[in-house]
């Protein structure tokens, strides 16, 4: 039976790799569809036709697209992300520190939102139908029904404008002390926590409620187990798989959320770098950033699927 699970997991990983290839292909072609010739954009308006032709030759722009794609892919495998058009710096150098900043933001958000959302989601499911449950449900519907930038602007209005507790902008370079650090990360983390937690609460609550309606939980109720024992001993261990699945899926919303949050708070992360690169049409930079985001997203949803497979007792 063990090999059945292994088979499914390997199959899922195989699908993830194929998906990644398709995604890379899509990103490459979307960005090479750019109107205007890359060589003439690089050389500016004063370039002679000969110079443009020379650069095209040097950049292998005359080769068929599939050849360029394979060459790009080979470069990626060697860790060569290309050179930025805008300032001629290696893309890897531009991304390096910023990727770390974004990972920090994501890690802090995860550390705060996962325990918070699980507690709220599980307790709401336990007290289903109560005023507490209804409040949590209405608030989480409210948060997922509005755009991320609205959560961010409301957070700024509340904490920076009315209460004046926190600065509205982030700047990671100016952190000198622990209080500085808290003030810098506070607004982006608060916003992201709201967005991620709302998803996670809804999914966790649904997963626990579904388990609570199974026959064996009813059995526990009938034999006189207390409500908390029923939830913690009988329902939760079985809901664990769906809950971890929900956590991984919700964390994949970080990818979208971080794009808005870094832009609105001017946080020097990779998403801000990418939005700026789109504004300047810096193709190699866009390609690399998009690839990193897709990779992260794919890792999370693949992890969610694998957890779902492993936690299915019928497959174990």
């Amino acid at each position: 039976m063990k090999s059945g699970v292994l088979n499914l997991v390997v199959k899922r990983l195989g699908i993830a790799v194929i998906t990644l290839l398709i995604v890379l292909f899509a990103v490459f072609f979307a960005t090479s569809m750019l109107p205007g010739d890359t060589a003439s954009i690089l050389l500016g308006q004063a370039a002679t036709p000969e110079a443009v032709a020379g650069l095209r030759e040097a950049m292998h722009l005359n080769d068929p697209a599939i050849l360029r794609f394979l060459r790009w892919l080979l470069g990626l495998l060697h860790g060569d992300l290309g050179t930025s058009y805008a300032n001629q710096m290696p893309v890897a150098a531009l991304i390096g520190r910023r990727l770390v900043n974004t990972m920090e933001l994501a890690a802090i958000t995860t550390l705060i939102s996962v325990p918070l959302a699980l507690t709220l989601g599980i307790t709401a499911a336990m007290l289903r139908g109560s005023l507490y449950d209804r409040t949590v449900t209405v608030l989480s519907i409210g948060v997922i029904s509005v755009p991320e930038f609205m959560v961010a602007t409301l957070a700024v209005l509340l904490f920076a404008v009315y209460l004046k507790w926190l600065p509205a902008l982030s700047s990671v370079n100016e952190a000198h002390s622990l209080t500085d650090l808290v003030r810098i990360y506070a607004m982006p983390v608060i916003t992201l926590t709201f967005v991620i937690s709302a998803q996670m609460i809804r999914m966790t609550r649904a997963a626990v409620i579904e388990t609570l309606s199974t026959p064996y939980v009813e059995m526990a109720l009938l034999k006189g187990a207390s409500r908390s024992r029923m939830v913690l001993r009988h329902a939760l261990p079985n809901a664990l798989g769906p809950i971890v699945n929900a956590v991984a899926l919700s964390l994949s919303y970080l990818v979208g959320g971080v794009i808005i949050v870094e832009t609105i708070f001017n946080y020097p992360g990779i998403a801000k770098l990418m939005v700026d690169a789109v504004a300047t049409r810096d193709l190699p930079l866009i390609q690399s950033c998009a690839m990193i985001f897709c990779l992260g997203y794919l890792l999370l949803i693949t992890a969610a699927d694998i957890v779902a497979i492993m936690s299915n007792p019928r497959l174990r």
């Binding site: 699908i15 194929i18 998906t19 398709i22 995604v23 899509a26 990103v27 979307a30 960005t31 090479s32 569809m33 750019l34 109107p35 139908g129 209804r134 449900t137 209405v138 519907i141 409210g142 029904s145 509005v146 755009p147 991320e148 930038f149 609205m150 602007t153 409301l154 700024v156 209005l157 920076a160 404008v161 009315y162 509205a168 994949s252 990818v255 979208g256 794009i259 808005i260 832009t263 609105i264 990418m274 939005v275 690169a277 789109v278 504004a279 049409r281 193709l283 866009i286 998009a290 985001f293 897709c294 997203y297 794919l298 949803i301």
Partner: protein, 283 residues
């Protein structure tokens, strides 16, 4: 999901029972639709005219929602913004759901390699984060209304496909499908007359949810400056334009955000409060 049903009163209309929250939500949606259609006739000031000496003006008589960063009338701009937000989203969600549902039913009825290939490909498309997809497309081909509509439609087609296919696969195993096949009906007939009537209700609920996703994504892109380009402004772009008013808590930042929230929350509430028969996904 059930939060509103316990507090609201039920009433009967056209054979279904509706509750108060659902009716209010439907009225809000209807109001925004009417605004989107008739905006040019009801705006108090032309949207480009500077009517206030001050920028980020507060609400007062004549300028009911204050003025924006250039001193233009915010009420007029929000009313006109409804046209773009509702119009573009509606066009995109219609294309996405039409394509997704037709392909989904086709895949379920046809099966075989067509189903497998299409499902694999669309699942892969689904693994691209939606905002990222939007960013890359806008970087590649620039931002205009047709591009926005098509991009949003392409992003949400895989989800609609997956949903419709799952429903259609269930219907496909029914006896009446076998009977229709034995009768020698064409694929078009099987899809249009046998499957579609049986899945139309959950598909319409899914249409509403997808509409919300599209409104949120469109607003997000416009907020990043990658959606509608000036001088056109949808609600997301209005928030972006006036973000400088945030430190003064200017109505110009808050009102367009509230407009988006009122629309998306209403659609969500309407779907949550639809009669069970319509909403149920496996009806």
């Amino acid at each position: 999901m059930t939060m509103a049903r316990t507090v609201a009163t039920r009433r009967s209309f056209l054979g279904h029972s509706y509750n108060l929250v659902g009716v209010v939500a439907a009225l809000v949606i209807l109001a925004w639709t009417l605004v989107a259609i008739f905006a040019p006739y009801i705006i108090p000031h032309p949207i480009g005219d500077i009517v206030d000496d001050d920028y980020f003006g507060q609400m007062r008589q004549g300028l009911w929602l204050g003025s924006d960063y250039l001193g233009r009338d915010m009420l007029s701009r929000v009313l006109m913004g409804a046209r773009y937000t509702v119009g573009i989203s509606l066009a995109a969600v219609s294309i996405a759901c039409f394509l997704g549902v037709v392909l989904g039913m086709l895949a379920a009825v046809t099966g075989g390699w067509f189903d497998t290939c299409l499902s694999r490909f669309l699942d892969a498309m689904n693994s691209i984060p939606s905002k990222l997809f939007g960013l890359v497309v806008v970087a590649a081909v620039g931002s205009s209304i047709p591009v926005l509509i098509l991009t949003l439609a392409v992003i949400y087609t895989p989800g609609a496909y997956r949903f419709a296919r799952a429903l259609a696969v269930n219907i496909n195993t029914m006896d009446f499908m076998t009977v229709a096949r034995v009768r020698g009906e064409s694929t078009a007939y099987l899809i249009g007359s046998e499957i579609l009537p049986n899945i139309i209700r959950p598909v319409l609920a899914d249409f509403g949810l997808r509409f919300v996703f599209i409104v949120l994504l469109l607003s997000g892109l416009s907020f990043l400056g990658l959606g509608l380009q000036p001088p056109l402004a949808d609600w997301g772009a209005l928030v972006r334009e006036n973000i400088g008013g945030l430190p003064f808590a200017a109505p110009a930042v808050i009102v367009p955000s509230l407009a988006i929230a009122s629309l998306t929350i209403s659609v969500n509430l309407l779907i949550d409060n639809l009669p069970q028969k319509i909403r149920d996904r496996d009806a």
